[in-house]
Amino acid sequence: MSNLPNVPFLKFIYKPKNELEKGGRTEIPAPRQSSEPERRCPNCYKSVPLSKISANMSMCGCGYHFRMTARQRISLICDTFEELWPGVVSNDPLGFPGYVKKLDTVKVASGELEAVVCGKAEIDSQPCCVFIMESYFMMGSMGSAVGEKITRLFEYATMNRLPVVGFTVSGGARMQEGLLSLMQMAKTSGAVRRHSEAGLFYLTVLTDPTMGGVTASFAMEGDIIIAEPGAMVGFAGPRVIEQTTGKTLPKGFQLAESLLEHGFVDAIIPRPEQKEKIGKLLMMNKAVN
């Protein structure tokens, strides 16, 4: 792991699991007075008030990237954003038990109607099409509606000669839609290909976690693939691999840093630099008309 970028977060991988392991207790954080809700950082183990996290691009002071909602990401990355096809929603084609109820619950909990938000945007003054997947909607799983929205976005971008920037976060295909969700992998791949054949640029930003059918389709089909520090990216889930092979997973397995080392992502870009870098990549990958 020698060529890793200098991101403080990376210490996470090698970090001792408790205070004693690193040679005795040092500072004991004083109990907090306020009753403000907090989240524990899985990297530095500190409890951070939610207001502090959201004021810092959903990052901990140590550099750990917490998950963000799609809308938070839009406001972080885009100068302007005009949503497209917000009304494309899942139905229950197979009559899968509990699916309709589950959809109703997550719609309320996430405030979204589907697991991806698509739109026309400007990033650092560069016009583009953007899709951002939503981890709070059934773990960003891809059903027919997600596949349809992403396919439409690529078709729209092809017609209007615009690049596409896609933020992926997904547990994979949505099993409640059976084979129809599997087919979305081929459908979206076809739309990506047509966009690419038109000489247009597609940038994927892999965020935590990007797994299964999304990794095995449009997430890995970008001209340039970047990742957020510490994002877990893979095809098979780590627990499944452990159970099937009976092997202990190596440190940092399936993390963005490991993918970089194995040659499957172009760069790891922390959140504070994303907007500017994405803008530059868009500028340097303009389609030749």
């Binding site: 197979l94 038990p97 099993m175 084979l179 095995a216 893979g234």
Partner: protein, 273 residues
């Protein structure tokens, strides 16, 4: 679910998995002559879970790609239990590109519980390898026919099935997740696999109803001479029909573009700053 033999979906799953059925290599030997195996992905290794090469379908040269599970334990081990490594998919893609160059039809036999699930496979880009196949296959300019002969497990099966014609043997299955996997996620109980198999709509008849499969192949005399003659004739007729057709890649895109079931409700578009 509904099928003329009145078997439950899970019984069909078990049939599809049984080691008694003809494997990919049996299909190659039964349907073609002069098979010449071509090995390796030219990057890393030769994955034995996927067998590929050239053969004659009557008088026409075709590219043949088959997932092989093996019959005996020795064969099954040698072929990685029909769970392809990324190198298997990369070999398949290499051979498919070659087929396009020499304008040969591509015939795939699918029989896998899924792409190999392991540390090494992940580190060598299993997801990336499957994605590359989907991306390339949907735009290939030569005919692709995929025949599901046993199990069709998720992305690992789709990576050889972005085809103009998808056929399934009567007792073949095709699913986004194994019924056991689905049961353990939804009900936290692997014993509910039987129920999950019904709901997943994974039999050949379900796939036909969903439009994912175009045709069901009768298993009358499965593995016998008459069966292979029937399949061979069907493959030849389809290969001829598709070869004569201009605009295959467009038609293939449209075939996959239409999949999906969703509603469209009216909402005021909001502007976000």
């Amino acid at each position: 679910m509904a099928n003329p033999k009145y078997k439950s979906a899970y019984e069909i799953v078990k049939t599809a998995r049984s080691g008694q059925r003809p494997t990919g290599i049996d299909m190659i030997n039964g349907c073609f002559t002069d098979f010449i195996e071509l090995h390796g992905d030219r990057y890393f290794s030769d994955d034995r879970a996927i067998i590929g090469g050239l053969a004659l379908l009557y008088d026409i040269p075709v590219t043949v790609i088959a997932i092989e599970k093996g019959h005996t334990l020795k064969e099954r081990t040698e072929h990685g239990f029909g769970a392809p490594q990324p190198e298997g998919y990369r070999k398949a893609l290499r051979l498919m590109r070659q087929a396009e160059k020499f304008k040969r039809p591509i015939i795939c036999f699918v029989d896998t519980s899924g792409a190999y699930c392991g540390i090494d496979a992940e580190e060598r880009g299993q997801g990336s390898a499957i994605a590359a196949n989907l991306y390339e296959m949907i735009g290939l300019k030569v005919p692709i026919i995929s025949v599901f002969i046993g199990e069709g497990g998720s992305g690992g099966a789709l990576a050889l099935a972005v085809a103009d014609k998808v056929w399934m043997l009567e007792n073949a299955v095709y699913s986004v997740i194994s019924p056991e996997g689905c049961a353990s996620i939804i009900w936290k109980d692997i014993k509910k696999a039987e129920t999950a198999a019904e709901y997943l709509k994974m039999t050949a008849y379900d796939a036909l109803e969903l439009g994912v499969a175009d045709e069901i192949i009768s298993e009358n005399g499965l593995g016998g001479d008459e069966f292979y003659t029937m399949l061979k004739d069907k493959l030849k007729a389809a290969a001829d029909e598709l070869t004569a057709f201009d605009g295959l890649a467009d038609a293939r895109y449209k075939r996959f573009r239409k999949f999906g079931s969703y509603d469209e409700i009216t909402i005021e578009t909001e502007e976000h700053k």
